[in-house]
Symmetry: C2
C-alpha cells in the first residue's frame, strides 16, 4: 500500500528492457503476469517495435484479447499481423460484445467468419446488431449486456432475480433498465435506489425518469458531451422506435474524450491520434512525407510571392533580413485565434450563431496587439538599419498581417467545417499559407511602391 | 424521445440570442429553466461577455452553484465578480464537498470565511481536510461522501443499514468501502455484488480486494491514467497510513482528461486550457501580447542570423527567395516529432528508458524524408533559377535542417520536462527557433562558402 514512485511506468519499462536484454525470458513472463492488461498495453505502446514483438509473445494467450482492445489501432494492427488464426480465435473469447465488435472489424475476413461461427445464436445476433452501426456512433460504442426489469414488479422480486442471475450481472452495472413488454425503454432503476428503497416498493415507484435515452445513430462526440453534462456512469441506447438496444458505459466514453483531445493536438501537426510512437520507419516516413509535401507546396507559394519582388530585394537587402518577422508574427497571432476557434467548434460552442462575435473580438485583440508590436519592431528595425522608411514600412505590414490573421483564424475553421473538411487537420496549414502570403506581399509590395 | 437535430446547441444558442434581442426576458427565463445546469454552463461559455451577464442574471439563484462548477475557471471568475456576497453564499449551499472546495478557492476571502461559518462542524472539518490538498492531486479531487461498512457484518445487515440511510446515500454510489475499526481501508463492496450475492454472506466474503487505494498526494493525471487503465467508476483515497479519506468519482476524472487534452492543444499556441473564447478584449490582448513578444524575440534571432549574410544575399537574391523553404520544412518535420514526443511524455510512455529508441527512429524517418524532399526541392529550385549550384545547396541545407529537426523534436521535450518546464507550452517556440536558425545558417552559410 505504499505510494508508487514518481516514474513508476518508466522504471518498470527499464526493468523489463534490462530483463529482455539479459535474456531472462522466464523472469520477464513473471513480471508480465503481475501486471493488469491495461498496464501491459501501456508497456507495449512504449516499446520499440522489435522488443514489442518479443513481449507480445510472452503474454499469456488468454489475456491477448483484453490487451488488444487497450492498445491504439495502429499497435493492434501490428500485433494482429503476427498472430496465427488459432491465437486470434482464442483472443476473442470472453470479450464483451462491444469490444468483440471493435476487434473483429480489424481482423482478416476469414477469421471474422470463424469467430462468428464459434458464437452461440443469441451472441451472434447481438454482435451483428452492433456491427451494423458505424464505430463512431452510439450504436458502435454500446454493449448489449443490459439487465432489464419490468415496472410492475417489486424491488424484492428484482433483488431475488439478480441473486439468481449472480455472476451473469456485469460487475460494472450501476443501474438496471426498465422496459415494457416490447422492450420499449421506460426509465432506469439505479442500484443505489434498489438498495436504499423499501423492498415492497415497485420498480415504477423507485425508478428514475430523468435519463434521456441515447439514439443509436448519435455521434460518439455528442455521446461524450452528454455523459460529461450529466455526470452519467452508463446510459441506455435505443433505436428509432424507442426500443432498448443496449447501454454505453463511461469507460468507453473516457476513451472517446481522450481521443478527441489527441485528435486536435496531433491533427495540428498532421498526425493521427492513433499514431504509434514506434511505428516502422518506412510507414512513418510515408505518412510524414505526405504532410511535408503539402507544406512544401505552400512554402513554394510563399517563395513565389517573394520572387515577384526580386528587384526590390536586390536593391534593399534589409527587406530580406526582416521579412521573416512579418510572416512569423502573423502566423503566431493567427494560430492563437485558430486554436481557440477549433476548440470552440469541437465543444459545440462555436457556430454561425456567435461567429460574428468571435470575429469582432479577435479583430479587436489582433488590432491592439499589432499596434503594440508594430511599434516595438519599428523601433528595433529602424535603429538596426538606420532607416525611418523601413521602420514605418514594417509597422504597417505587421498591422495588416495581424488583422488578416485574426480574420483567417476566426473564419477559416468555420468555413472548413461547413465544407466537411476537418479544421483540426487542415486549419494550421491553410492559416500559415495566408499569413505567409499576406505578410510577404504587404511588406515587399509596400516597399516596392514607396521605397525603391 | 426524438433524436435531437445535428446542431442542437447552436440552434438553442441562436434562439436564446433572438429572445434576448427581442427583450422577451420572461421567455428567456422559461427556456433557461428547461435546461440542465451543464447545458446552461455550455450556453454561458458560448455567449459573448455582454449577453453572458444578462443570461446569468436570469438563472434561478438556487442553480448558481451547480452552474459555476461547470464553467471554466475564467468564466467562473467573471461570473463571481458580479455576484453580491449573499448570492455567493446561497450558491454554495447543497454542494458536494469536493465541489464546494473548488468553488471557495476562487471566492473572495471574506466570503470564504462566511461560507465556513455557515457549515456544521462535521462538514467544516471535512472541507478543511479537502482544502489541505492541492487542487491537482487526488486529495483535491476527492469527495468525502463515502459509505463505509465493516467486513464482519452480513450483506443483509448492510442492506438494512442502507435502507435506513435512504436518501443520504449519494445516487452516484456504485460501491461501498470496507474499513476496519480505525477507518483503515480494506477493500470495496460493489453494489453489483451486494445485490447478487446471498444476503447471509458476510461483507468479507463478498468484497473485492482488487482495488488498489489511491494516495491523496497522487497527481491528478496519474489518477486519470489509473481510472482509464482499470475502467473504474469510483476509487478510494487514503492517507499515508492507509486510512480512508474519501473517494474519487469518474465524472471528476473525465474533466481531468478533457483538460489534459486541451492543455496540450491550447498550450502549443501559448493559450491556457481555461481560456475563455469571449474573454474581455484587454485581457486577451495582454495575454496574447506576452506570447507574441516571446516569439518576436526568436524571430529577431533568426533575422540576426540572416543579417550576417547581407553581402551574400545582395549578390544572389535567389537565396532570399528560397530561404523560407529551408526553414519551413525543418519546422514542419520537427513539430511532427515534437508532437509525438509531447504526447508520449503526457501519457507516461516516453522517458529515459526509450528516448534513445525514439531518437534513432526519428533520425531515420527525418533522414529518409530529407532525401526525398531535398531532391524535389533541388529540381524545382534548379529549374526556377537555372542553377545547379543552388539546387545542390538547398538540398544539402534541407537535409541538415531535417536531421537537426529530428534531434530537437525528440530531445527538447524530454530536456524541458527534466528542467521542470512544461514542454506543451515551451516546446514549439524553442523548436522553431532551432529549425529557423539552423535552416538559415546552413543555407546562407554554405552559399557564402561555396557560391559567392
Amino acid at each position: 500500500m505504499s505510494a508508487p514512485p514518481e516514474h513508476s511506468d518508466d522504471t518498470r519499462l527499464q526493468r523489463l528492457q534490462e530483463i529482455l536484454a539479459s535474456g531472462a525470458v522466464r523472469e520477464a513472463s513473471r513480471l508480465l503476469r503481475s501486471l493488469a492488461p491495461a498496464e501491459i498495453a501501456h508497456l507495449l505502446e512504449s516499446l520499440p517495435a522489435a522488443q514489442r514483438e518479443i513481449v507480445w509473445n510472452l503474454v499469456d494467450e488468454e489475456r491477448d484479447g483484453q490487451i488488444l482492445l487497450l492498445v491504439t489501432d495502429e499497435v493492434r494492427a501490428q500485433l494482429i499481423r503476427h498472430m496465427d488464426p488459432q491465437e486470434l480465435l482464442a483472443a476473442t473469447e470472453n470479450l464483451d460484445l462491444d469490444d468483440l465488435a471493435d476487434l473483429v472489424q480489424q481482423m482478416p475476413t476469414a477469421i471474422t467468419a470463424e469467430v462468428m461461427d464459434a458464437l452461440d445464436d443469441q451472441r451472434r445476433k447481438r454482435l451483428e446488431a452492433v456491427l451494423t452501426y458505424p464505430e463512431d456512433t452510439a450504436g458502435g460504442l454500446m454493449n448489449t449486456d443490459t439487465v432489464t426489469v419490468r415496472p410492475e414488479v417489486t424491488l424484492d422480486v428484482v433483488l431475488r432475480y439478480l441473486r439468481r442471475l449472480g455472476e451473469a450481472v456485469p460487475s460494472s452495472t450501476d443501474k438496471l433498465f426498465v422496459v415494457n413488454r416490447d422492450d420499449g425503454y421506460l426509465g432506469v432503476l439505479r442500484l443505489s435506489a434498489l438498495v436504499t428503497r423499501d423492498p415492497d416498493d415497485t420498480v415504477a415507484e423507485a425508478m428514475s425518469l430523468d435519463m434521456q435515452p441515447i439514439h443509436a445513430d448519435l455521434s460518439e462526440s455528442e455521446v461524450a458531451r452528454r455523459f460529461e453534462a450529466h455526470d452519467m456512469l452508463s446510459a441506455p441506447v435505443v433505436d428509432a422506435d424507442g426500443q432498448l438496444l443496449g447501454r454505453i458505459t463511461v469507460d468507453d466514453v473516457v476513451d472517446v474524450i481522450r481521443e478527441e483531445g489527441e485528435h486536435q493536438f496531433m491533427g495540428s501537426a498532421g498526425l493521427s491520434e492513433e499514431e504509434d510512437m514506434f511505428a516502422p520507419v518506412l510507414t512513418s516516413t510515408r505518412r510524414r512525407a505526405l504532410w511535408l509535401g503539402i507544406n512544401l507546396a505552400t512554402a513554394f507559394l510563399a517563395s513565389w510571392v517573394i520572387g515577384q519582388f526580386e528587384d526590390t530585394l536586390s536593391q534593399v537587402v534589409a527587406l530580406a533580413v526582416l521579412m521573416p518577422i512579418v510572416a512569423s508574427m502573423g502566423g503566431i497571432a493567427g494560430s492563437q485565434t485558430l486554436t481557440l476557434a477549433i476548440r470552440g467548434i469541437a465543444l459545440g460552442q462555436l457556430g454561425p450563431g456567435n461567429a460574428r462575435a468571435l470575429l469582432l473580438k479577435e479583430l479587436a485583440v489582433g488590432t491592439l496587439n499589432s499596434l503594440i508590436w508594430a511599434a516595438v519592431v519599428a523601433v528595433i528595425a529602424g535603429i538596426w538599419f538606420s532607416s525611418a522608411e523601413i521602420a514605418i514600412l514594417i509597422a504597417v505590414a505587421i498591422t495588416i498581417n495581424l488583422v488578416f490573421a485574426a480574420i483567417a483564424g476566426s473564419l477559416l475553421p468555420l468555413l472548413l467545417e461547413r465544407l466537411g473538411i476537418d479544421p483540426a487537420l487542415a486549419g494550421s496549414v491553410l492559416l500559415t499559407t495566408v499569413t505567409d502570403v499576406v505578410g510577404f506581399l504587404a511588406f515587399l509590395g509596400l516597399a516596392t511602391l514607396f521605397l525603391v
